[in-house]
């Protein structure tokens, strides 16, 4: 199964627009640490709620950021779908190497028994 490419996962030119503004880059960096409500995103930059919501709209349009409601809050998160694919690949190898390191131990034991015969 092919992993979706950058092109299909992200919405093309909007991506460049999304990261062209320093405030939006700062917001992305904050979201990289975990999801945040809008109120927390505005305060470090001294932004008004309306200005922040304009920036968040650009980020949402790019597909980089998603939004959900939780009571009166809107929660934003970074969408890293292409990387989730990579993580699965890494997990797969991790289990494989655990098994192989054990298999190597057995192999080393067996081969030295063979030598002493």
């Amino acid at each position: 199964m092919r992993r979706p490419s950058l092109k299909t996962t992200l919405k093309g030119e909007n991506l460049f627009l999304a990261i062209a503004h320093p405030i939006r880059r700062a917001v992305l960096e904050e979201l990289a640490a975990g999801e945040r409500p809008a109120t927390q995103l505005a305060s470090p930059h001294g932004l008004s709620a309306s200005l922040l919501s304009q920036h968040l709209k650009v980020l949402k349009d790019s597909g980089l950021v998603s939004e959900r409601r939780e009571g009166r809050n809107r929660i934003y998160r970074l969408e890293a779908a292409p990387l989730a694919e990579v993580s699965r690949w890494v997990d797969r190898f991790s289990g494989f190497w655990d098994d192989r390191l054990a298999a190597l131990g057995k192999h080393l034991l067996a081969s030295s028994k063979g030598d002493s015969k």
């Binding site: 991506l15 992305l28 990289a32 970074l78 292409p82 890494v90 098994d99 298999a103 190597l104 057995k106």
Partner: protein, 155 residues
């Protein structure tokens, strides 16, 4: 460059024996994979199958990168069907009773490598830093894009 995954094991065997198990085709066929191997930088092999229930399926192209006798062995593993590529490094440290063996694996992502080879290092990341690396990559892509615009204007 930060390794993606790291594991360590101790074997009560001399380093020469462990090195042999890691580098000799016949030994490797018994515990790791089905295919050829020779510990010489630049050599390429086809691994038809990795052993074990939890092995990633499919064939792998293995290309030896660095060999330091009884100390270090690194090779690139490329999944033939998907093109997914990683670099595996074995490091060995022997003491009088046995051998510490460390394995590290760095994952490169195909999609990120193709359009922008100059940001290869950013596509190498640890799982927990994946999202940060993602942002870093986007910033690098933006920089490239802006540079291209500037050159286009200047031309």
């Amino acid at each position: 460059m930060k390794p993606e995954m790291k594991k360590e094991a101790y074997y009560a065997k001399p380093v020469t024996e462990v090195w042999k198990a890691l580098t000799d085709s016949k030994n490797l066929n018994e515990w790791l994979m089905q295919g050829e191997f020779k510990a010489k930088a630049g050599e390429k092999f086809r691994w038809k199958k990795l052993h074990g229930d939890r092995a990633p399926e499919g064939e792998f192209e293995c290309r030896v990168q660095e060999v330091r006798e009884r100390e270090l062995l690194s090779f690139q593993l490329k999944h033939v069907q998907t093109g997914d590529t990683s670099i595996v490094t074995w490091s060995l440290r022997g003491d009088e009773d046995g051998t510490w063996l460390k394995i590290e694996q760095e994952f490169l992502t195909d999609d990120m490598l193709k359009p922008h080879p100059n940001v290869i290092s950013m596509a190498l990341y640890r799982q927990r830093d994946a999202e940060k690396a993602w942002v870093a990559l986007l910033l690098a892509l933006l920089t490239d894009h802006l540079e291209q615009l500037i050159w286009a204007k200047a031309a």
